[in-house]
């Protein structure tokens, strides 16, 4: 029996082996595209994470609000399903913590007259500044940035 007969004998193996070998190994996706693909995934995941946990790092409360020009602070950009609540700064506790007093009512907040708000970054408010505040902000970020006070 010659060496070629090994190759010939291999030719008679079960067709399942041939079928298997004919398929591309599933894990071998083209590596040229693997790195950009993974990098894109990481970037997208990072953006989504930031949007969820920091209320969109590109849309946080303006950090340079002076006492003079922050009388109407734009609310965060989430949805507007619940409308907006008008509040004013009742008390400044620190540069990132204020007590907001509700000027308009909302069924969700009707039991509260005031809430304590913790901002992630320092902001400069003074008592009487009016802050437009959306319910979604509170609801979505309550555990992260806001505290409720009576």
């Amino acid at each position: 029996m010659s060496m070629n007969e090994i190759i010939k004998a291999l030719g008679d193996v079960d067709e399942a082996f041939i079928n298997e070998a004919e398929q591309i190994l599933p894990r071998n996706i083209n590596r040229k595209f693997l790195l950009p693909f993974v990098a894109s995934l990481v970037i997208v995941a990072g953006v989504v994470f930031c949007q969820i946990h920091f209320n969109g790092f590109m849309q946080t409360v303006p950090s340079d609000n002076s006492i003079e020009d922050c009388d109407m602070l734009e609310s965060y950009d989430i949805t507007e399903n619940y409308g907006k609540l008008k509040t004013e700064v009742a008390e400044v506790i620190s540069e990132n913590k204020i007590v907001m007093r509700f000027l308009s009512s909302n069924e969700v907040f009707e039991e509260y007259d005031e809430i304590i708000v913790n901002f992630v970054e320092d902001h400069y408010f003074s008592t009487g500044d009016r802050v437009r505040f959306k319910f979604e902000d509170f609801y979505e970020l309550g555990g992260e940035y806001f505290e409720i006070g009576n």
Partner: protein, 183 residues
């Protein structure tokens, strides 16, 4: 058209079966034939013979994997053609393949084994391999693909393919010895 539909055409003796087979597998079969024969016209002739053989054998045969079935025929036709055209001198590729496999054959002994016995042993050997090694081995020695083509197809480096083949040949040698198969 999927494999089952094509096989159904064969069973109905519908000549479109061959056309549909060509549409699905002609390119792959010509590539396989060319891997063995290294000659385009011979490869095309072998593939035509393959279709004829498939037409004559289905039915009664009802292949589970149509391409595997066709390629098995095609491979056989190609080796027969090689034998016919050049009984003493193999094509360069087959010589190369034989040389590679030479090292995994136990030393000559009085015992001989029949082809079928050897095939069964090879099947047991293939089953003992990990999938990746098995696929690379089959690609090289069944489909007669070059190391470069295998590496390209699976996005491996050529050295990885060579290493895998080297180790698999070593395992084959030990396996054949353990099976008492000597050439």
């Amino acid at each position: 058209m999927n494999d089952l539909d094509i096989i159904e055409l064969y069973f109905k003796r519908d000549e479109n079966a061959i056309e549909e087979t060509k549409k699905s597998y002609d390119k792959k079969l010509v590539k396989l034939a060319n891997n063995i024969l290294r000659n385009t016209s011979d490869s095309e002739e072998s593939v035509s013979d393959t279709y004829l053989s498939a037409w004559n054998s289905i039915p009664p045969q009802k292949p589970k994997y149509l391409f595997a079935y066709l390629s098995k025929i095609c491979r056989c036709v190609c080796f027969d053609m090689l034998d016919y055209k050049n009984a003493q001198k193999r094509s360069a590729e087959i010589v190369a393949l034989s040389d590679e496999l030479l090292m995994c054959i136990p030393s000559r002994d009085e015992n001989n084994s029949e082809g079928k016995e050897l095939t069964k042993a090879l099947e047991r050997f293939l089953l003992s391999l990990e999938k990746e090694s098995r696929v690379i081995f089959m690609r090289r020695y069944w489909f007669c693909e070059s190391v470069r083509d295998i590496a390209k197809k699976f996005n491996f480096t050529e050295s990885k393919v060579k290493t895998s083949l080297f180790r698999t040949r070593g395992k084959l040698k030990r396996f054949l010895e353990s099976e008492g198969i000597y050439i």
